[in-house]
Symmetry: C2
Subunit: 137 residues, 2 copies
């Protein structure tokens, strides 16, 4: 499914550089998991203080994303050990997703990201207002 050359096989092979730096492979794998649309958004929600279990429909409505993409991302995060999934034998069926301790340990990352966002913006319209226009004399 991935268009790029990177993958578990490629990274695990000989000559890969990730093993040459401390925790390089762990960092690379973390970037790989976080580098998909909406993963940071999902983890930001579930790792917030007192977030607790989140239902699929709540996440979908909050993130305004397609159910298929959300389902894919949640599966990836469960597989990575960052979310735990609990299904309840109810009618209608209920499924909850909750941050694991490993995911909660990403809180300092989100604090750093929020601190950055308090100092900067990437929004083109806001940046246009920031940048002074050079005027010829």
């Amino acid at each position: 499914m991935r268009k790029t050359g990177r993958g578990h096989d490629a990274r695990g092979g000989a000559g890969e550089r990730c093993e040459d730096t401390p925790h390089g492979c762990e960092i690379e794998e973390l970037f790989h998991v976080l580098g998909k649309t909406y993963v940071l958004d999902i983890l930001h929600i579930v790792t917030q203080e007192g977030a607790g279990p989140q239902r699929f429909v709540e996440l979908q409505s909050r993130l305004d994303m397609s159910p298929n993409t959300l389902s894919d991302r949640l599966k990836d995060l469960v597989k990575a050990g960052l979310l735990s999934r609990t299904s309840y034998n109810e009618i209608p069926p209920r499924v909850d997703y909750e941050a694991t301790p490993k995911a909660l340990d990403l809180q300092p990352v989100f604090e750093s990201l929020a601190a950055w966002a308090a100092r900067h913006t990437l929004r083109p319209e806001a940046r246009a207002a920031e940048v002074p226009v050079a005027v010829a004399p």
Copy 2:
């Protein structure tokens, strides 16, 4: 090009939640930029102490990614104001990319990510070794 419902127009519209939290829209936009394959990897390289300008071919060989994807990501990052691009009138043509001060200010984020990676792993093979297998008595 994006398959999901999120986009500048959707986010700028009425009823969006990002405006309800402090710097919520800046955080969302940052997640949007970072949430693409290889963006974290690229920013990690260019924001390292003393990294300096990086040539396209060096980045491509270091990241083992397709030139088309790298080109797309670099364009996005220049547009977001996170990279500066300098082209030199040489033969063969040379193009350098360097982290802007705004990107260098992401260093605490990468420090947090590296600290997390020093404590945890997402690599399935390493995780399999971590998890004790339950044995029936």
